[in-house]
């Protein structure tokens, strides 16, 4: 999807800020949100791709308003509501009650976890067919605009690159995130010249990104 998380190349965020000193968690709630984020996948019967999809489905203002671990808290809540572990509005109501307001809390719903079970641990999976592309081959990232989750970032869509290396084949996040199958594919590190991505006045560098086979087509030009 063309969600808020796809930030590559966007302008307007200013300088990179580096706080010093920097503990792993600046405040205790951040540590709790981190742990809840990890556990929310297990509790909701989902997976890491679903969690990432919960991040990129966030409303634009929500994504930025509460910082990095705020996003984790919101994503955990999204997965738990999607699986009907929590009722919509339950977290907000409890938050208000913790703040001293007196609001009714919705009843606990009947859980409705996705019909999903991984075929193995982790994301790497064997694929029976040979890779469609070879190292050194010229390819083009497809100009796709899926409404669902994808790891095909906007800034490479339609751009021409070269297969840099073949990575281990892996579960396709696009379908895995929404429990529509693992659909493992070959994955390639693809290198793009900076001027192909950002025009002739771009800084000179090479950008390499991992792309699943279905994100790519041979470059005939």
């Amino acid at each position: 999807m063309d969600g808020v998380a796809d930030l590559g190349g966007m302008q307007g965020f200013g300088a990179v800020k580096r706080p010093e000193p920097e503990p792993v968690f600046s405040e205790r709630w951040e540590a709790r949100a981190f742990a809840l984020g990890l556990l929310s996948m297990r509790t909701s019967g989902t997976n890491l791709d679903s969690f990432r999809h919960a991040l990129d489905r966030q409303a634009v203002l929500d994504y930025f308003a509460d910082g990095y671990f705020g996003r984790w808290c919101h994503a955990a809540e999204t997965l738990l509501v999607d699986s009907a572990i929590l009722a919509p509005g339950a977290v907000e109501a409890r938050t208000r009650n913790l703040m001293g307001q007196q609001v009714p809390e919705p009843p606990i719903p009947t859980p409705d976890k996705p019909d999903y079970k991984p075929t193995a641990a982790g994301s790497l999976r064997p694929v029976d067919v040979a890779p469609a592309f070879a190292v050194g081959q010229r390819v083009r990232a497809r100009d796709l605009h899926p409404l669902r989750h994808t790891r095909l970032v906007r800034y490479v869509r339609g751009r021409r690159g070269v297969i840099e290396r073949i990575q281990p084949s892996a579960v396709l996040p696009d379908t895995h995130a929404t429990f529509e199958g693992e659909n493992p594919q070959h994955v390639y590190a693809v290198s793009f010249d900076s001027t192909e991505l950002w025009g002739p006045d771009a800084e000179r560098f090479t950008l390499t990104i991992d792309l699943w086979e279905s994100y790519l087509e041979a470059d005939a030009s």
């Binding site: 998380a5 930030l7 590559g8 190349g9 966007m10 965020f13 990179v16 800020k17 580096r18 920097e22 792993v24 968690f25 600046s26 405040e27 709630w29 540590a31 709790r32 949100a33 981190f34 742990a35 809840l36 990890l38 556990l39 509790t43 990432r52 991040l55 634009v60 203002l61 929500d62 308003a65 509460d66 990095y68 705020g70 808290c73 809540e77 572990i85 339950a90 977290v91 907000e92 409890r94 938050t95 703040m99 606990i108 994301s123 790497l124 790891r151 970032v153 800034y155 990575q167 281990p168 892996a170 590190a189 771009a202 800084e203 560098f205 090479t206 390499t208 990104i209 991992d210 792309l211």
Partner: protein, 198 residues
Amino acid sequence: MSDIVERLPIEVRTEALEQLLVERGLVDPAVMDKFISTYETDVGPLNGAKVVAHAWTDPDYKSRLLNDGTGAIAELGFKGPQGEHMVVLENTDTVHNVVVCTLCSCYPWPVLGLPPSWYKDPAYRSRVVREPRRVLAEMGLDLSEDVEVRVWDSSSEVRYLVLPQRPAGTEDLAEEDLVPLVTRDSMVGVARAGASAR
């Protein structure tokens, strides 16, 4: 979209979420504490520093590390979540590698721990794939124009670790004395080893 006039405090919202799960026995606070302490105290960039210092002092190990990052890193006992397949990128006099995750915050946890805030920040994620030399210069790393800059966007489950250059003048140092020179930032590629305490 949430009300932009009234946002509920995120620290209270997090507490509410934890309460709702704990009171139904769906989450064990002790398990949460274990996750937190693991990444606060046990797993961090010291692991990666040991890998790098070992590679600097053992050419055979360095060769294995560049050919099979995951396997060579596991030789030193480091593996786990977010380290399913790790690739090590060597910085040289002519090539400088730097790593980002533009979509989220993918990072090699077994060797670096959890990412620092700047790595997760929209400014770094948006800019380093578009103007890396400028971003690196702002972060204190000036690269000469004849150094090839290679930016790696971690968009799959592959995790990247930069093998920084061994600082000049450290030829006589033992492996354990090299470890403190290997900073977290040098293993992401936004600094040189030995450049600062970060």
